[in-house]
């Protein structure tokens, strides 16, 4: 392979004046994690609301939940990010659009919200499935005890459902981390973006991508290990995971 390898490149100074190329990649990693966490909070909040809506007895609520999920699931994430970033500000009144566009960190917020809402549809599906998987008796018992619907969800159904769906939520969180990479198309310089910038500045394509790959693998390993620990901690006695 006639490619000029140079693994020393990581310790050479980068042109941004902020240290070495390795520092550049690490700052990308930090931004990836920050964006993923913000997006994940949004995904959990919206996903929970919509997931609950889908399981409520009300037909209207179920229909709203269904539409929400279909809307966010049937468009590529890239197209959704373009809609938030390029289209939305143009459809707003001029002043509001301008404010949105000139917000510092616009790519970060757009990516967090865009990825967050995209993932929220998947969280909603998982949560609705988790609630549906609970024995019907639980809901009936709660009603018999005189709990309101809100109380039933708050004290009975949700605490159980979240613990049951913890494993699929782990993989959805990992998907969130990966999906933040799509945001390089709207100018977010996260890990993949920094790897590409390093390639452009230093011409060392494969070193840059190798380092980014290793960093993604590490994030994966850390998250999976941490979540396994958490799963064991919160496992429900009597369920398969609970022993």
């Amino acid at each position: 392979m006639n490619y000029h390898w140079n693994w020393q490149i990581f310790f050479e100074p980068n042109p941004t004046g902020s240290g070495t190329y390795l520092d550049m990649l690490l700052s990308g990693l930090a931004l990836t994690i920050k964006t993923a966490l913000t997006a994940w909070i949004i995904a959990l909040v919206f996903g929970s609301v919509v997931g609950v809506l889908r399981t409520l007895p009300s037909k209207v609520a179920g229909w709203i939940g269904f539409c929400y999920v279909e809307f966010f699931r049937n468009m590529p994430l890239l197209v959704q990010l373009f809609l938030w970033f390029f289209v939305l500000p143009e459809l707003l009144p001029r002043a509001a659009g301008l404010w949105l566009k000139q917000m510092p960190n616009a790519p970060f917020w757009t990516a967090s919200i865009g990825v967050g809402l995209f993932m929220s549809a998947r969280v909603a599906v998982q949560l609705a499935a988790g609630i549906a998987s609970l024995p019907r008796g639980q809901k009936q018992a709660a009603t018999a005890l005189g709990l309101t619907t809100a109380q039933t969800y708050r004290y009975v159904l949700l605490p159980m459902a979240y613990r049951i769906i913890l494993p699929p939520l782990t993989s959805e969180f990992l998907n969130t981390v990966k999906n933040t990479a799509v945001a390089i198309t709207i100018g977010l310089i996260e890990l993949t973006g920094q790897a590409r910038a390093m390639q452009e500045f230093s011409f060392q394509v494969f070193e840059a991508f190798t380092a980014a790959t290793i960093m993604y693998l590490l994030v994966n390993i850390v998250v999976v290990t941490g979540m396994r620990f958490l799963e064991r901690k919160v496992a429900i006695p009597g369920y398969i995971a609970g022993k």
């Binding site: 490619y3 004046g17 000139q102 790519p107 310089i189 452009e200 011409f203």
Partner: protein, 303 residues
């Protein structure tokens, strides 16, 4: 027996000679001969060097030069037919794609500098341009220092974004640099007020402004981030045989006056798709270079 032996020797010699003849072709030339194809890398929006017309076909000044090179390669290899494949590249993918053999020539607006010459080669210079920025007149940005603390866009993978990054660090401008995929996208960011300025080679900026909906609203800076730097068609490094053919083809084109004709076609006449006229007559430096073609990365050598 003697006769047989001598025939054997003659045969061996003939075979050896044939083999040597085949070995003369190396690298890209050999590949082109074997596959009967040559792949040109083109850009989406490097107007008027390499961009897509109304039918999404790549056209432009650099494309015309490349087709001349293709003719020369065809003649050199004595091929009846040479298929030309086109592959889109961006500023950030062009060098890896050239290195990995996806494209054989990059026909666009690539700045020839010493750093890049460590990775790839350039043929004779086809343009000279300096790095500046475009902004809306209404934002009243009169110098590079006025960019302080603002959002500025540039195209990822260009020398311009690197110069902006370096100036940002050296002068403490605290500019928020947004990388864009291609020039058109970057310019749209200024047009839609997402960034206040777009740092790029001035000729590309002028073309984008001329092609915009309201050309009068924009101004290109007097301040430059660099001296006028040369543009070259890129080819793979360490392929002297191919470079020789390409250099000879471009040198003949430029010294023979045809280069000037192609230049005039794209820079002083109406060009597709909108019938724009860039009104940029050939500069004295480029005219000198056309008389004495050079692939030097040193801006000062073109004075």
């Amino acid at each position: 027996m003697k006769r047989l032996l001598s025939i054997g020797f003659a045969l061996a010699a003939a075979l050896g000679a044939a083999e040597a003849g085949a070995q003369e072709l190396t690298g890209t030339l050999k590949n082109i001969k074997e596959t009967g194809t040559i792949t040109l890398g083109h850009r989406d929006s490097s107007i008027p060097f390499s961009y897509l017309d109304d039918n999404q076909k790549p056209i432009g000044y650099a494309m015309d030069i490349c087709y001349k090179i293709v003719d020369a390669v065809k003649k050199e290899l004595k091929l009846d037919k040479l298929e030309v494949k086109l592959n889109p590249v961006t500023s950030s993918t062009r060098i890896p794609l050239l290195a990995n053999g996806t494209i054989d020539l990059e026909c666009g607006s690539t700045t020839n500098n010493a750093e890049r010459q460590k990775q790839i080669s350039f043929t004779n210079t086809h343009f000279l341009t300096a790095s500046r920025y475009v902004s809306k007149k209404s934002s009243k940005l009169n110098s590079i220092d006025d960019l302080k603390g603002k959002a500025v866009v540039s195209t990822a993978g260009t020398t311009n974004i690197k110069q902006l990054t370096e100036a940002n660090a050296a002068r403490g401008l605290n500019v928020n640099i947004i990388p864009a995929k291609d020039h058109a996208e970057a310019f749209l960011m200024v047009e839609t007020d997402r960034a206040v300025a777009f740092v790029m080679d001035d000729i590309l900026l002028a073309s984008l402004v001329a092609g915009s909906k309201t050309p009068d609203n924009y101004v290109i800076s007097k301040d430059a981030f660099s001296k006028p730097e040369p543009y070259g068609i890129m080819l793979r490094k360490d392929d002297p045989a191919f470079k020789k053919v390409v250099d000879a083809a471009t040198a003949a084109l430029y010294t023979g006056g045809e280069g000037q004709k192609i230049y005039d076609k794209w820079f002083t006449q109406k060009i597709p798709p909108k019938g724009l006229n860039l009104n940029t007559p050939i500069a004295a430096e480029l005219k000198n270079e056309f008389a004495k073609p050079s692939d030097s990365p040193d801006p000062d050598s073109y004075k």
